[in-house]
């Protein structure tokens, strides 16, 4: 952890991704902004076009209303006072409508002012009696009013055409702006995405290469740190992990070498001990046979005890040699019928001690992939232990089979014998470790150590459950 913390990260992938997302959002906003700016003039022109159309309609209406006013001046009898009032109102309404429009130009206002002046002059003529009204003057004023309005219409038409031309000329502008900005956005997104993709790919390939190298056993491989971001941090941590693994592997190798040397030494010592032991055994037996007349009873008893100890030591040496052999022998894995093997062992045990009331309950067709010779040693030890530790009970049941423990399939050997105290469980599989007194149950304390070593060599595990005087259950996997 310390080595990981010592890595100084100056960049952050999440920061880079956030920047990319921010850039994409910015481009989206830019796109909308560009679309708005490029459309703004067109939208304004369309609005102007609408207003010009409204003004044009106002001028047209004003011309018609003006004509009605002129007609009322020439022929008052054709127009009622109410109609005349309505004409006056309409004149005001139309003028107001036109003047309220936003696109009034000074020239247009001047023309409308002239028209207004003529209309006012015409309205003043209403005050004159009919006989005093000069029709030619009325016609002239009417002509001038109409002319001003005509010129206003021409001006509005020109304005309308120009505005429409402006809309027409810029009709592709929003589309072009949108497409251009979208292309820009796409190019940026592709460029940025490609860059991020390359960075991810390079970093992952770098880590993948390092992982593959380490997995193939090259613990000296060190991945180069190509960026000071999370990948760099991960690579740094990976290199740290590889370093620790390398150191552990070196220690393990040294341990294995030491174990092998120890096993070789143990074998050598055991083997070499047998020769002087045989001499001591032979001479002690010769002493008993050839010099029995010279020995008193005490001497004979001592020599007997010496011989018993020698035999026990011989058994110990044999067990040690067996344990050593098991550790060094090559495994020959094949399909083994464990039920058959267990039955054979049970038969041997029963035949050796026919007086005992022991029942065997062995499941059929329990098979496993194992070394036949070694797995037989396992079953031999476990079943013999069960046989031994049920010897104090008048009746006993020994079982063998396959079961499931905590979701894991496991083989078991169970008995209802003396059992043991689970508090001493850690000593159970240690060599020369015994949970019972020699006088109660004889043995060298090597059997379960041998069993564990065989199970371990099969990449399996072994454990036990027991209670004093309630039997023991041994479970193992292969």
């Amino acid at each position: 952890m310390k080595s990981i913390n010592s890595f100084r990260q100056t960049q952050s992938l999440s920061h880079k991704l956030s920047l990319a997302v921010a850039a994409v959002c910015g481009l989206f906003i830019l796109n909308f902004l560009g679309l708005y700016i490029s459309s703004r003039d067109s939208l304004k022109s369309v609005t102007k076009l609408y207003q010009v159309g409204q003004m044009n309609a106002g001028v047209r209406n004003l011309k018609q209303v003006g004509a009605l006013l002129v007609n009322s001046l020439k022929k008052p009898s054709d127009t009622s006072n109410e109609a005349l009032g309505e004409i006056h109102i309409q004149i005001e309404v139309q003028f107001t409508t036109i003047l309220q429009a936003r696109n009034n130009t000074p020239e247009l206002l001047e023309l409308l002012g002239e028209a207004r002046k003529r209309l006012d002059e015409l309205k003043r003529m209403e005050q004159l009696e009919l006989s005093k009204r000069n029709l030619l003057v009325i016609d002239q004023l009417s002509l001038e009013m109409q002319e001003s309005l005509n010129r206003s219409q021409v001006l509005l038409n020109t304005l309308s055409e120009e505005t429409f031309a402006s809309v027409y000329n810029t009709r592709y502008q929003p589309l072009v702006a949108s497409i251009s900005l979208t292309l820009l956005f796409l190019v940026f997104a592709i460029w940025r995405g490609r860059k991020i993709h390359d960075h991810f790919e390079n970093s992952l390939n770098n880590l993948l290469g390092a992982t593959t190298a380490v997995a193939s056993g090259n613990l000296d491989h060190s991945a180069p740190i190509i960026a000071n971001d999370e990948f760099g941090r991960l690579t740094f941590a990976f290199n740290g992990m590889t370093r620790v693994l390398r150191e552990t592997t070196v220690s393990k190798d040294a341990l294995m070498r030491a174990n092998k040397e120890l096993e070789a030494f143990s074998y050598s010592v055991s083997h070499d001990l047998r020769s002087p032991l045989r001499s001591v055994d032979g001479f002690s037996m010769a002493l008993l046979e050839d010099c029995s007349d010279k020995l008193d009873e005490t001497g004979k008893r001592y020599i007997e005890r010496i011989r018993n100890a020698i035999q026990k030591m011989g058994r110990l040496i044999d067990d040690m040699l067996d344990l050593s052999r098991l550790s060094r022998a090559d495994l020959n894995i094949t399909k083994v019928d464990l039920s058959e093997c267990a039955r054979a062992i049970a038969k041997d045990l029963t035949e050796e001690n026919p007086n005992r009331a022991v029942s065997f309950k062995i499941q059929d067709h329990v098979e496993a992939d194992a070394d036949p010779a070694l797995i037989k040693v396992v079953l031999q030890n476990l079943l013999s232990n069960s046989w031994k530790y049920t010897s104090k009970h008048p009746k006993a049941l020994i079982e063998f089979g396959k079961t499931t423990v905590n979701g894991q399939s496991a083989f078991f050997v169970r008995d209802d014998g003396a059992g043991f105290d689970m508090a001493h469980m850690q000593k159970l599989f240690g060599p020369f470790q015994r949970l019972h007194k020699e006088t109660e149950f004889p043995g060298t304390g090597v059997g379960l150590a041998t069993v564990q070593r065989i199970i371990t060599r099969h990449k399996g595990t072994i454990w036990a459950e027991a209670a004093m005087e309630h039997g023991a259950s041994f479970y193992f996997t292969l």
């Binding site: 030619l136 002239q140 002509l143 001038e144 109409q146 002319e147 005509n150």
Partner: protein, 139 residues
């Protein structure tokens, strides 16, 4: 000899033409003289105001009037047909309308006398009795 006769005929024609129409303006109009080109500009609405900024109001004569033909030929330099087309074009492209037309000379004189900026033309034979109008000298 022939050249002399032609000269006499042309001289007679010009003097006769000049005597046929008189351009009149309102008596309050400070202008006393206007060239045919200036009168043409006023008639065709190329100029809309007098030097004193009063609006030009031209009163024309009816197409059947022989004086009008003379006016168009001598001053405007257009035929009646050309002028008609001209005003159609003007109405379409600038909104201008042709001046009012009046057959009666008295009405013409009244009109010119009514508006300060009015201008018209009458026969030279018509007696100019109204004090509200005056003849414009056309060089």
């Amino acid at each position: 000899m022939v050249r002399f006769v032609v000269f006499l005929i042309l001289a007679f024609a010009i003097s006769a033409r000049a005597e046929d129409l008189v351009v009149i303006v309102n008596a309050e109009n400070p202008v006393t003289e206007a060239s045919p080109a200036e009168i043409r500009d006023y008639f065709l609405k190329r100029k809309r105001t007098w030097p004193d900024k009063s609006d030009v109001r031209f009163i024309d004569r009816t197409p059947a009037d022989s004086l009008r033909k003379l006016f168009l030929t001598n001053i405007i330099n257009k035929t009646s047909r050309d002028l008609e087309l001209f005003w159609i074009g003007q109405k379409l492209y600038s909104g201008d309308s042709a001046p009012l037309q009046e057959a009666d000379e008295k009405m013409v004189i009244d009109f010119v006398g009514t508006f300060k900026g009015a201008i018209g033309y009458i026969s030279s034979t018509t007696a100019l009795t109204s004090k509200k109008v005056k003849a414009l000298r056309v060089p």
